[in-house]
Every structure is written in C-alpha cells, then in structure tokens.
C-alpha cells in the first residue's frame, strides 16, 4: 500500500508498504532516515521515539497505515523543528527539513566533538556539552523525548525529567550525564527567555 504523511514538515510518500509494517520501518527502510533506532521492537527501549502529531510515541508500535495524513517529527528534523518553535512559527512558509537534508543530517559541522559549525537544537547541543552521548544508540530517542518535555515543562524538576525519560533505556547506563544534559538545556532555555 501507499502511505502519504508529513515527515519533518514536508509531505512524503512511501510506496510498497506492507500492511503490517511499522512506522519505524517506513522511516528507516523506505525513506532512508535511520536516525530513529530499531532495538527492542516492543516499546520497551524508546530508541525509536518520534513525535506523531506532536506526541512522543514508539514508532515501532505505530502501524504504517495509521500515519496516513498525519505529522511525524524525527531526530533528523529536530534542529529545524526547534528553530522554528523558537521563532514562533514558520515565517517563510518553507520550513521543515527536506528528505535529502534529513538523510544527510549529521551532527558534524567543523568539529564533531563540540558540534561547532552545525545547526543543532538546544537539547542536542546540551547532550554534546554535558557528555551525555556514549555509544549513541539511545540518543535520538532521548533527544526527541527530552525536547518534547522541555517544550511542555520549561522548568522540570529532577523527578519530572526522570518521569519523562522513563521510557528510554541507555545500555551504557549514562543516565547521570543525560540528566545533566537535560538540566543544562532547561537552564539555558530559561536564561534565553
């Protein structure tokens, strides 16, 4: 079957989708967006977290056909998504991230260690600055989940952060640095206002 939906602000079309296929599979294998990670395929690990009509969900548990006509934001579009949010909407009318830009997206710039020269969302920059990335496999899901929490709750307590990220597992067990990163992003966000 064919599925038409919006990915990172741009309309996309996926063809030859099997009816039992997950949104995660469509994103990774049909649209070439491997940022959302495939680990447990049962909603336990959160590494496939994306936003579906603004709400964080495990994309491995959404049937492809269920996203017809709906809006998905993946980690590849997070920097543009956050920028647009900070600017209070899409002034130019041509926002979002094209499929090609999303496919090529890397947090490299001129220095992959510091993220310098790349346009990152505040939460991505905070993860780099706090050293919250070890093997990196859980990072995309955590970024999407943490970004959504900071949008909803700009001044989270530690308990709020733990609760919001309770569906994302880090097998490197780097949770302390991840907590640091989210606190850092929250602090920077409140300074900026």
């Amino acid at each position: 079957m064919r599925v038409n939906f919006t990915v990172n602000g741009r309309p996309q079309e996926a063809d030859d989708v099997w009816e039992g296929e997950s949104l995660l599979y469509v994103l990774r294998e049909r649209l070439g967006l491997p940022g959302s990670k495939n680990a447990c395929e049962q909603g336990e690990c959160g590494s496939c977290t994306v936003r579906l009509d603004g709400v964080p969900v495990c994309s491995c548990l959404v049937a492809a056909g269920q996203v017809e006509g709906r809006e998905v934001v993946t980690v590849e579009g997070l920097a543009d998504f956050a920028k647009q949010r900070a600017e209070g909407g899409c002034a130019s009318g041509a926002c979002g991230t094209s499929l090609q830009n999303a496919q090529e997206w890397q947090a490299q710039g001129t220095d992959s260690q510091t993220g310098e020269g790349t346009e990152l969302s505040p939460i991505q920059q905070a993860f780099i600055d706090a050293g919250a990335v070890q093997c990196g496999f859980c990072t995309p899901g955590l970024l999407v989940a943490a970004d959504e929490m900071l949008e909803r709750n700009p001044n989270p307590t530690d308990a709020d952060i733990r609760e919001a990220l309770s569906g994302n597992l880090c097998r490197c067990t780097g949770y302390e640095k991840i907590m640091d990163a989210v606190r850092l992003a929250a602090a920077r966000q409140s300074e900026a206002v």
Partner: protein
C-alpha cells in the same frame, strides 16, 4: 494482510461484520508487538485511529463514559478526581510513549490478566459498551473476562467505550514489579471504598487466569465494617479485621509460577497490597469525614 481504515464507527462495525477475523488496532502497543515478532499474522488489521469519538470521554452524573481509545496520559491528566483508581493504574502503565498511545479499550480487548486497568475497573464498578451491526450492549465488568486473554466479545463486536462509576470515596491501586517504569505487573491490586453503598470492592491482577474480584474478602469486610459501625464512627480498622481481609484476598488468587514470580509470592504480595490499600483508603476516608464534620 489487508489494512482496513474505516472513517466512521458505522464503517468500522460493517468492516468487522464482513471480516470477523479482523484484528482491531488503536494504540498498537499490544498488536504491533505480536506482528513485529511474527507471533501473529492477521488477515486484516482494522485501524480505529480515524474514529475521533473513541478518543473522547464524557463525565456524567453517575459515571464516566470513557472512549475505548482515550490514552492513559489523558486519563491521568483529566480524570484523576472522577476515576482516581484508574488514574493511578494508568500512571503505572509502561512509559510516557506507551501511555500516549494505549488505552483501556486495548487492555480489555487483549484481556491479559496482567493488564493494569483491570483491577481499577473491577474495584470501581464498570460496564463495557460493545457494539456490532446487530446492535449495542453493555457487559458488566464482572462478566467480561472469560479466560486467559479471552473476553465476552462476539467475533463481530468492537469495544466502543467503558462506563466507569465515578468515585464516591477513596480508591487505591498498587502494583508489584521489579522497577517503577516499563514493568509488567507481577501482581496488582485495586481497592475502592463506596461510602454511598457502604461497601468495598476489590480487583486483583496477574494472580489468576483472569482479573478477579476477591468476593469473599469483600463480603467479610463489608459485614465487619457494618457490624462495628465503622462507616459512622470512622474508627481505625481493627488490625485483626485488616489481616483477615488480606488473607481472604490472598485466598482469592489462583496464580501460577512463571518468570516474573512464583505463585506463593503472588499470593503473599496480594495480601500485603490488600492490607496497605485498605489502610490508605480508610485513612483517607477518615480524614475526609473529619473535615466534613469539622472536628479536630
């Protein structure tokens, strides 16, 4: 496999009548796991996401009509006052990502003894509104669970909503697991005080082939509370009464040994949760009584 995408409830009923083997999918948090792991290859998937009504709820005089697909997150955020037991249970479901998708309709459809909503629904008192092209009916929650992962639905029926009685007293929910998040219940317990009818209702999860009420325990406690005048005098419940209640709740279990826990552990833990939830709710009831009577 075919993917059916009805745009309305009537279309969904027609599709289910035409294809009784179609598997309904809403939040997908049970169905997709089975498909991802190749445990299930349904001929038809019946997507219910386009039916907006299923995600809505209405607070009535006596009960809340909760659409089958109202996500747990919404129950936690919006129905804590009306359905405190279910709101507490909702908060223990998996993770935010899962609570954003999953709802009570799925819990009922899957009818796993470990579903988190069941003990709360049993304790509060509820009716499941199901419908087919043949008509609509309401199944009392006590008659809904018929076996391990089996329910009273006919092949052509779909779950539309659950009518849960609004709380008329304190309610509690307790769940045993290895950690706080992302955990399937080793066993769970729900308890609701109903001062209006001077009765107590319970619900036990994951400790029998189906979710069950501890009826003998309820009857014992109702009689003991009545006899001692507890509803009126608001005294603390005699420890021997609480213990007997807990023992009867343990006895209502019919658990198995499995990877999550042994049968004897489950029986023991259900007794502990029964005593604790009774104490918590009764303390809350006594507190509320004191407030309304203005006594110190």
């Amino acid at each position: 496999m075919d993917f059916l995408r009805p745009a309305s409830w009537e279309e969904a009923l027609a599709a289910k009548a035409e294809h009784p083997t179609a598997v309904p999918i809403a939040g997908g948090t049970d169905v997709m796991v089975e498909i991802n792991f190749d445990h299930r290859r349904p001929e038809y998937l019946l997507d219910l996401n386009r039916i907006g009504d299923l995600g809505e709820w209405e607070v009535g005089e006596e009960s809340v009509r909760l659409g089958a697909s109202v996500p747990y997150t919404k129950i936690m955020e919006n129905l804590r006052a009306e359905l405190p037991g279910l709101a507490l249970a909702s908060h223990t479901v998996a993770s935010p990502q899962i609570r954003n998708r999953g709802g009570v309709g799925g819990n009922l459809g899957t009818a796993s003894p470990a579903g988190d909503a069941h003990p709360a629904l049993l304790a509060a008192g509820a009716e499941v509104e199901v419908e087919s092209v043949r008509g609509s009916r309401r199944i009392p929650i006590d008659a809904f669970y018929t076996g391990v992962k089996r329910n009273a639905l006919a092949a052509d029926e779909l779950i539309r909503a659950v009518h849960v009685k609004k709380a008329d007293g304190p309610q509690q929910f307790s769940k045993v697991g290895t950690r706080n998040a992302m955990v399937i219940a080793v066993c769970a317990f729900g308890l609701a005080l109903h001062p209006g009818t001077r009765s107590v209702r319970t619900g036990i999860g994951s400790a029998a082939p189906t979710p069950v009420r501890a009826r003998a325990a309820e009857e014992f406690l109702n009689a003991a509370l009545e006899e001692g005048g507890f509803w009126d005098n608001g005294r603390i419940i005699t420890p021997s009464v609480a213990k007997q209640f807990a023992d009867l709740c343990s006895a209502a279990c019919n658990p198995i040994d499995d990877v999550r826990g042994t049968a004897s552990y489950r029986r023991h833990a259900v007794g502990v949760m029964a005593r604790r939830t009774l104490t918590w709710t009764w303390e809350s009831y006594r507190g509320a009584r004191r407030t309304t009577e203005g006594a110190a």
